[in-house]
Each structure stands twice: as structure tokens, then as C-alpha cells.
Symmetry: C2
Subunit: 405 residues, 2 copies
């Protein structure tokens, strides 16, 4: 009898956790497990703000996927997904195709630019290892060129961060630690550097506790960040951005670096494959399957689950993706073993911590508000936990964060 | 009685050595010594190829001038020289002016582009700390951007070095050591990187022993450098360069990085100040003074001295500049002390070593030909000697090169 074939697309938090749980729980002859990923490494999306600012080397932010795979149980294909053919139950890859009996779509998100003119062309994104390296080098290059110019263009030293959400604030925290070092490296007066954060919403970190938001904003302001809250980016240009409050006339902020950290949407492969979605996110069934497709699971940034407490979607996080991965692994096993019922996914929030640099953070953990060093230590514990969940102690020892204070 | 005022312009090898010799040999009340320099640091021009390639951090290539000055004897002015007024015996600075009784012009050289179109706009130069940092970051930025491009532009990974003279060859040596590390850093296949050296003369390292030239060229070729000898750069463009052999039709080499390492001329301040010169170099008297000006010495890259052995000018090197500094200091003292005669400068060549990276070099030292590790060790000894001459043992310990093998 042919073994059922499970194909997992994407080796992010959700996909990789599904894979390692499946390889642990399934017998050798029970199923064929295939993991498809563009790169041969997994990267910590939640640490990319550090690699982008240049405070943590990108090699600390990624690890070889083979390090956590059991090659006797999982077949790894390094390739790029082009499209999913649900009717023929196969996935079209750039260099081939792969058939499946059970599919897990864990392809991760993409930046959402909301159609703002010029953002795609002129703004950089904290999206993956390649883009993080580019941001780091782009900023450093501006500092290097600045010193060579006969007529100094101070806009080279201006950095705009679009969005004061989670990613924007965490990136700003790292940036304020990186800038003094860059100024020293290139003999530049730090007074000449501007960091401007533009946020369209009426507050930074919407959804966060207001007391914690105030703490975060004032800490970053103290380190020199200028906030333009309730102000929207209307357009990005080669010279900077145009912004406006409400309907007022847009005005220009000149800056050689614009980082767009404001929006994430689901993967465009979802729409390309004809799966019903909102901005690339599929409203999944309680068992995480796509409505109407008994053999396709969607987890992570491409899935959409409504939080019944406030009737809004849960934001896409590593935490929810990993919990979905656990449930997906168990549900696939239930299907293969013909168990009567699939498990219903329920998000169990352990809390949220937003880093503000190496030794500062804000957060709510198990219902308790934290700021400063305590929150920062907790943040690193959370980062280490994600490593532990996927790769056990050995991965924590290899890639963990132990510079606690 | 007013103390005579000695003003030294430039804190390169020649100017700084003149200054430290004067401060050592003169009594407290004998003269006022003023050193003028653009930066508060001295940099090792002969190490800039390392900082440019990124194999040595630029802070290792420079040191604070105050570290070697005796502030009770020398007054340091950090300012930029705009013009020398020989008739009123004063120097116009950007932020002021300074009068002199004796002047030492040791302003260093400038890149000579021989009027080649586009070189100034599109090529980078191994000229000073700022330009070295820019080259290092420019190359790294290309590698970072390459990985983000959907359609890979392999020209981003092409580096043209204009000139196979001393600086060009030394830079190539470092570059071949840096590229493998950059490829690893940015996950780039090293096969995609091209390093092309274009030299108009019929040989690399003109004037060097042909056996040593062959060794250098074949070592660099083995490491992947392509040489176009007897080929001139006709034009630099935003996309690369146009080259031609003799009168043939120019053809294009596409490359995102073009480093011009082919020409040095004297300082343009010389011409701006109405001093007779050939490409900014003054044919000085045997005592190193400017013909017709009893109180103005010119040393280093701005001076021109004919080598009687081949009737051609000595190439501007750190070695000759330092020897000139020693003689200049003694001659100024002779003038102040009303001694009957000034010393005649005679260049005493200790030899020349051209580095080919961290553990390889070619050279002729005390008449002996050297290649490989032996030459490389000798090169580092020469580098350390320059530190010793100016700053003594403490500077050697602080900035010296001891990674001998």
C-alpha cells in the first residue's frame, strides 16, 4: 500500500514546527513527509529587526534546516513554490513539482504597501535575511558616502521608519543603538542624524496597553526618535516621502533611507492558486483546514482566525504560528490514522513583548505588565523558547540569546 | 625678540616626521611650531588599499595626531588649507589664516585622472580614510543589493581596478582575500564575481623586476583576477567603463564598482598659490626649498626630484617623504641657527615591497629579490618602521602589524 504523502510548504515557525512534530510522532512507514523551502535555512522573522539595524549578525538569525530535520523521515526540497493545483493535488515549483495527499501551506507573509505610490520602488522592507542585509548595508553606505561628499547632504543621515506597530517600534529600538556606533565608525556628528517614525493610526502600537505605549514612545524619543503619529505616508520618492495628517496638503520629508514596517499580508501564492482569501489570508476552519478542501491546511501568516473577544483577526505572530503547527501535526496524524475527529485550534496567548533595544522592552506576560530590563530578559527567554520548540536544547545552545544583562 | 614661526602644512609621512623631528631637536624658546592638518588624525596612505578592500579596519590605519605631538612645543590647528600667500608669508585656511617665517608644504597628492571622461564622477579612489571607507561599503552594498534583486544583475559583482601599478596591485591582493568572505556573508557563488584589472602600460608594475612582476600577476590570476594589459580606460560611465587597445574601437566592460588606482599628482593648492609646478609637483632645490623662495620647503607627493640614475622623477612614496622630512627639519634648524650651509637631500632607497595580500608579496630589499611569505614579513616590518620613525615604540605597539604568519 502506498504511504500517504504529506507536503509542507515553508520552513518558517509554523511549517518547521509542523514538520518536526510530524517526524517525532509518526512511524517510519506511516507517511512520506516532504518539506519545501526556498532557502536551506530557517530564519527568525521576529529577530529580523536586529539584523536589519545591524545590531545582530544575520547568521545569528538563521540556521540550517537540516540541523532540525531527521533525514530518514523527512525529504527536504530546496525550491520556490510557484502555484498550488488543488484539483490535481500537486504543487508547482520553480524547478519541478510535487504531489501530495495532505498539504500544509505555511508560506509566510509579504509586505503590504496598501497601494501607496513608490513604496515598492523606494522603500526597504524587514522581510527576510536578504532584505535585512540590504537595510543594514544601505544605511551604512549612506554614512560612508556622506563623508566623501564635498557638499554634505544631511538627508543621507535621515532614516524614515513607516509604521509604529510592533516591527517598526522594535526596529527603532535597535536603530537607536546602532546609530551611535555608525557615527563613531564614520566620524559623523550624531546631531546630524534624524530618525523619523511615521504612523497613520492615532497611536503607536495600536492594541497595546496605553501606559506601555507611553513608556515605549518616550524611551525612543529620549534616544532621539521623532514621532509623527496620526500621519500617513502618501508617497515614497527617490528623495524621501510625502506625508499628510488627514486631508491636509502633503509635505515632504527628505531621507535617503525609508524602511516600510507597517503592513503584512498573506502570501500571493494563495490568490494565484485560486484559494479564497482576504489580502492573502485564508479564513480557515476551526481544525485549520481550508473550507471545502479536506486535505489542505493553512497556518501562520496566510491563515486568518477571528479572536472572539474583540471580533478581530489575531495578528500574525510566531506564537500563533507555532501553536497552529502543533495542532496541524496532530490533525494530519488523526486523518491518516482515521481517527473520528479533528482537534479545534484555540490560541493560548502567553503574552506579547515588544523589544526596545538590547536592554529595554515593554510587554504583557501572563497578564502582568512589564517594562525595562525585566521585559527585556523575558523577551530573550521567549526568543529562546521558539528555538527550543523547534530544535530542542542543542539549537538553543547554538543560537540562543544569553546576553541577558 | 620674536620667536621664528615654522608652519607645517599636512600631517602625512613627510609633514609629521618634520614636525616630530623639529619638536625633538629644538629648544622651548627657539621657535614656534605650528602643524596644520584637515583631520585630527594621521593615516597610513600605504595601508589604504587594505582599508579599501575591507581587510583592515580603517581605525587601524590611522591614529590621533596628538598621540605623537608634544603640545608644549607644537601648536596643532585642525583646518583645511585653501591657498598659500608667499608674498605676505601667510596661509589662508578655511576658518582663518596663519603667518609663517618658515613654511613646509607637505600636503600630499591627489588622484590624477588624466582627463579621462567620467572617472571623477563614476570611479572611486584609494585616496584617504573617507574614500577607503566608501570603497569598502560600496562593494559590500552591491553584494547586499544583488541578493534582493528579482532579476539578478551580475555586473553588481564585477569590480574594475584601473591601473596595475603599485596601488592597483596591492589593492587586488587584498580584494582577492576579501571576496571569498563577502561571498560567504551574502550567500553568493564566487564564480559570479569578476575582478578585472585594466592597465594602459605594456606591463603590470612598470619599473619592477620582470621576474617579480610575473610572479605577482600569476599569483593574482590564480586567485581569479583578469588582467587587460596594454589596454586603456577611455571613459567611465554609470554602468562601467569603455576600454581600448591602441586605436581600436572601444568596447564596454560592465561593472558596478570601478576603482581608479592609476595616477597620483601633486596638490592643487600648489598651482592655486602660483607656485611653478608640473602636475602639482614642484621641482625643488637640492636643499628641498622652492626655487626663489628661501623660506618655503616642499616635500612628499608635492615635490619632484630627479633620479640621476635614470633621469626620471623618483615616484612619490612614504619612504622618500620621510627622508625628506628628516632633512627639512635639519635645514630649518640650520636657517634659524644661522648655520653656513643647508644639507643636500639624497634619496637612500632601502628597497620596495609590493604586498599581494596578507601572506604574499614581492620586493627588492637591500638589492635582494624576495617573493611570498618572506617578502610579506618584510613588508610588515617596513610598515612598522614608519610608525617607529614618527611615534617611537609606543606607536608601534599600538598600531603595528604583528600577524606575521
Amino acid at each position: 500500500m502506498r504511504k500517504p504523502k504529506i507536503v509542507i510548504l515553508g520552513a518558517g515557525y509554523g511549517g518547521l514546527l509542523t514538520t518536526v512534530r510530524l517526524q517525532k510522532m509518526m512511524g517510519f512507514n506511516e507517511a512520506e513527509i516532504v518539506l519545501v523551502n526556498k532557502n536551506n535555512y530557517h530564519y527568525e522573522t521576529t529577530w529580523l529587526h536586529e539584523a536589519s539595524a545591524g545590531t545582530l549578525h544575520h547568521d545569528k538569525v538563521r540556521y540550517d534546516i537540516h540541523h532540525v530535520l531527521d533525514s530518514s523521515k523527512v525529504h527536504f526540497i530546496q525550491d520556490t513554490v510557484m502555484e498550488i493545483n488543488k484539483d490535481e493535488k500537486k504543487v508547482i515549483l520553480e524547478k519541478g513539482e510535487v504531489e501530495y495527499d495532505y498539504l500544509v501551506i505555511a508560506l509566510g507573509g509579504e509586505p503590504e504597501t496598501f497601494g501607496i505610490k513608490g513604496l515598492k520602488e523606494y522603500a526597504l522592507g524587514i522581510t527576510n535575511v536578504n532584505s535585512a542585509r540590504q537595510i543594514r548595508e544601505h544605511i551604512e553606505y549612506q554614512f560612508a558616502v556622506y563623508q566623501m561628499e564635498e557638499e554634505k547632504n544631511d538627508n543621507r543621515l535621515s532614516i524614515v521608519v513607516g509604521g509604529a506597530g510592533f516591527t517598526g517600534i522594535e526596529f527603532l529600538g535597535e536603530l537607536t543603538q546602532r546609530i551611535p556606533k555608525l557615527c563613531q565608525e564614520y566620524d559623523i556628528d550624531q546631531q546630524k542624524v534624524r530618525i523619523i517614525c511615521v504612523e497613520a493610526a492615532p497611536t503607536a502600537l495600536p492594541g497595546f496597553d496605553p501606559e506601555l505605549v507611553n513608556y515605549a514612545v518616550s524611551q525612543l524619543q529620549r534616544r532621539g526618535v521623532e514621532f509623527l503619529i496620526g500621519t500617513a505616508i502618501k508617497e515614497a520618492t527617490p528623495e524621501g516621502i510625502l506625508v499628510a495628517k488627514g486631508d491636509e496638503e502633503p509635505w515632504e520629508i527628505k531621507a535617503s533611507t525609508v524602511v516600510w514596517a507597517a503592513g503584512v499580508r498573506g502570501n500571493s501564492i494563495i490568490e494565484k492558486s485560486g484559494i479564497e482569501a482576504m489580502r492573502g489570508r485564508v479564513k480557515v476552519q476551526p481544525d485549520l483546514r481550508v473550507p471545502g478542501f479536506e486535505d489542505v491546511f493553512v497556518i501562520g501568516d496566510c491563515s486568518l482566525i477571528i479572536n472572539e473577544e474583540n471580533n478581530r483577526p489575531f495578528p500574525p505572530t510566531a506564537q500563533i504560528a507555532m501553536q497552529q503547527g502543533e495542532v496541524t501535526a496532530r490533525n494530519i496524524i488523526a486523518l491518516i490514522r482515521n481517527m473520528p475527529q479533528l482537534e479545534t485550534f484555540k490560541f493560548d496567548s502567553k503574552g506579547t513583548i515588544c523589544s526596545l533595544g538590547d536592554d529595554d522592552a515593554i510587554g504583557v506576560v501572563f497578564g502582568k505588565k512589564l517594562t525595562g530590563m525585566a521585559a527585556s530578559i523575558m523577551k530573550k527567554a521567549v526568543d529562546n523558547r521558539a528555538l527550543f520548540m523547534i530544535g530542542g536544547t542543542s539549537l538553543v545552545l547554538k543560537k540562543g540569546k544569553f546576553n541577558l544583562f
